[in-house]
Amino acid sequence: MSRPFTFTDPQRARALADAILLLAPPEPVKIVHVCGTHEVVITQHGLRRFLPEQVEILEGPGCPVCVTSTRDIDLAVRLAQTGRTVCTFGDMTRVPGTRKTLEDAHAGGADVRTVLSASEAATIARRSDREVVFFAVGFETTAPMTAAILLDRPPPNLSVLVAHKRIPPAMVALLLLPGAGVSGYLAPGHVSTIIGLAPYEVLPREHGIPVVVGGFEPLDVLYAIALILRQRRDRSPIVENAYPRAVSEEGNQKAQAMVAEVFEPTDSSWRGIGTIPSSGLALREGFSLFDARERFGLEGEEGEEVALGCRCAQVLTARATPDDCPLFAGRCTPLTPVGPCMVGGEGACSIWFRYGGRPRL
């Protein structure tokens, strides 16, 4: 049962906490991360306890199912209700659209399948004589998988409802949002293994914002926070890689090439933020045959983004913490989610609910 606790070593954590204390300025600092897994690490290990009062770290638009627009969900629900098999990742089926979730559609008799990967959707299509739609959500980490199935002789009855999003444009957009007040970014380790460091360069260069790519062990996160504070102290914002054991400067070029072959950047609507230029992916001309929007004539029927009865939009943009919302853990729980932040395993509200995430307990 003994094992080396390299990444949870309390002495090293203490040393990093001391460094954070020395590097922290007297004024408030808001560090934003954009990855649900970072929030899990921070909350599960109670890391906020290590930060001085004026330093806070919050989740921004880092939960892919949470930022998926209600319009895209409505399209998926409609496809499911009109006789198509809709495949998507588990959490996505429980996120509310305008009126319904995919799970509701399923309960009403529609064929909605939960898959663990894009290739599972292709397998389902190969074994089915129905039209099968893969509702493709997720950031740069899942887009290569969607590209892969389209590059590998996809079955003719398969199509893709693309809702993939790109993280760096959202990080820029968040800076321009009133009240966000971002002091520095803890950039997502997983996404960065794919895209490398270059896409973040715009943040320090044009906006003076420190960016540190961090890993997912408690010490990784504390170390990255210390580096962000050091950049601020030295007034020398750059993109720094604090996760070199997984992230290289150039990223995964094979995955990048696959994504570039299948997709092109497009404007995309984010729940809580609105439309962000070049923040989404659309299928290129050569793959339009597999575009569910084209195959089923879905363009031009999009409704308005609906407001939910909760503060999800603020939580998704790091302008509120989950317990700022009056519905948190009362009317809104993972069993009865009002907003998507309480649905997804990567949503801040669901993570705080699971891990008792009050800061500085």
Binding site: R14, H45, G46, R48, F50, P218, G345, G356, L361
Partner: protein, 342 residues
């Protein structure tokens, strides 16, 4: 709030928040007489007591078992059905005397499998010297249930009095009798969609002899077996009932490497899943070391550990001091993430 469309969901049987709600709102209050002794239906303890005119208390408990698969690494539904009930008696401080057996079988179920299950049930009973004294058998049509359902009711005697799960006092010490999460994680690994293999085995075992040792030392104020919902559910329940705070040291909680690894991989905490051969003991501080030493001298208790203490900071809550030195609430799991495991 009984909506017309309210239906039983699998979460209602998962031992977490949702199950407690079902019992409180829809089940227990339908019965007019809920006590035959000191501890009855309202306490939702591991069992109930019946007063004996001659002193001492009879403890009675019942448990139904459905598990998939019925044979699993480290045990089967027979051993589980025996241990679930025997251990509910044990953690109330009662020596198990006799069990009843209710069998519901699906048409087509292999008799060889049934015999294997019953032999394993008998083996568990014999490990603590309890008898199987009466029973009932029903067969249902093919497809009307999944193989086999077993109900066991157990009777034991506690002298002088049974031990509840709510008498926690500030300063008391929290002990566990061994590694946490083995049963739940072992069964989770068997779920086909994960494609996992592990050497982890269920811990299913009757713990009366182990508990009896601890009771002989004295100072045991409360006990509970952390089955569905695991350590987190059991301790939250105890904290709520006693309006105290349970404060735990994560690094002190014994967890096997395989269980920890599976938990990391699946994003499910070993603290949230079932144990079937473990007990939590709340012990007066002066007796804690002696109880721990005796627990460790028994084969079922060799990994026993002191994992925390009772404080007052947040009444009704469980606090976890994390390995790395952080601090957070350990929440009541909403439901066991593993369907049909006990």
């Amino acid at each position: 709030m009984t909506g017309e469309n309210e239906r039983i969901s699998s979460l209602h049987g998962a031992g977490g928040e949702r199950m407690g709600q079902l019992l409180r709102e829809h089940v227990t209050r339908r019965f007019r007489r809920r006590f035959a002794g000191r501890i009855g239906l309202d306490q939702l303890d591991d069992g109930a007591t019946i007063d004996l005119p001659s002193g001492g208390e009879v403890v009675i408990t019942t448990d139904s078992h459905v598990v998939k698969p019925i044979f699993f690494p480290g045990g089967d539904i027979g051993r589980l059905a025996a241990c679930g009930t025997l251990n509910d008696l044990a953690v109330m401080g009662a020596r198990p005397l006799a069990l009843t057996l209710g069998l519901i079988l699906e048409e087509g179920f292999a008799i060889a499998d049934l015999e294997r299950i019953l032999d394993s049930l008998d083996q568990a009973l014999s490990e603590v010297g309890a008898a199987l004294v009466t029973g009932d058998t029903k067969v249902m049509g093919h497809g009307e249930l999944d193989g086999i359902v077993i109900n066991t009711t157990g009777v034991g005697v506690a002298t002088p009095r049974a031990i509840g799960d709510a008498s926690l006092s500030v300063g008391d010490v929290v002990l566990v009798t061994g590694t946490i999460g083995d049963h739940g994680m072992a069964l989770l690994a068997l779920r086909q969609e994960f494609h996992l293999t592990t050497t982890l085995q269920s811990d299913v075992a009757p713990i009366w002899l182990l508990v009896e040792r601890a009771l002989a030392v004295g100072g045991v104020r409360a006990m509970k077996d952390p089955t569905r919902g695991g350590l987190a559910a059991a301790l939250n329940e105890m904290a709520r009932k006693s309006k105290t705070t349970v404060e735990l040291e994560e690094a002190a909680i014994p967890v096997r490497d395989q269980a920890r690894g599976l938990g990391d991989l699946l994003g499910i905490s070993p603290f949230d899943v079932a144990n079937e051969g473990k007990a939590i003991l709340i012990v007066a501080p002066a007796r804690a070391d002696a109880v721990l030493a005796l627990l460790r001298s028994h084969p079922l208790g060799q990994d026993a550990a002191r994992i925390g203490e009772i404080t007052t900071e947040y009444p009704g809550r469980v606090i976890l001091r994390t390995q790395v030195g952080g601090r957070r609430f350990l929440e009541m799991p909403l439901g066991d993430p593993v369907p049909r495991i006990c």
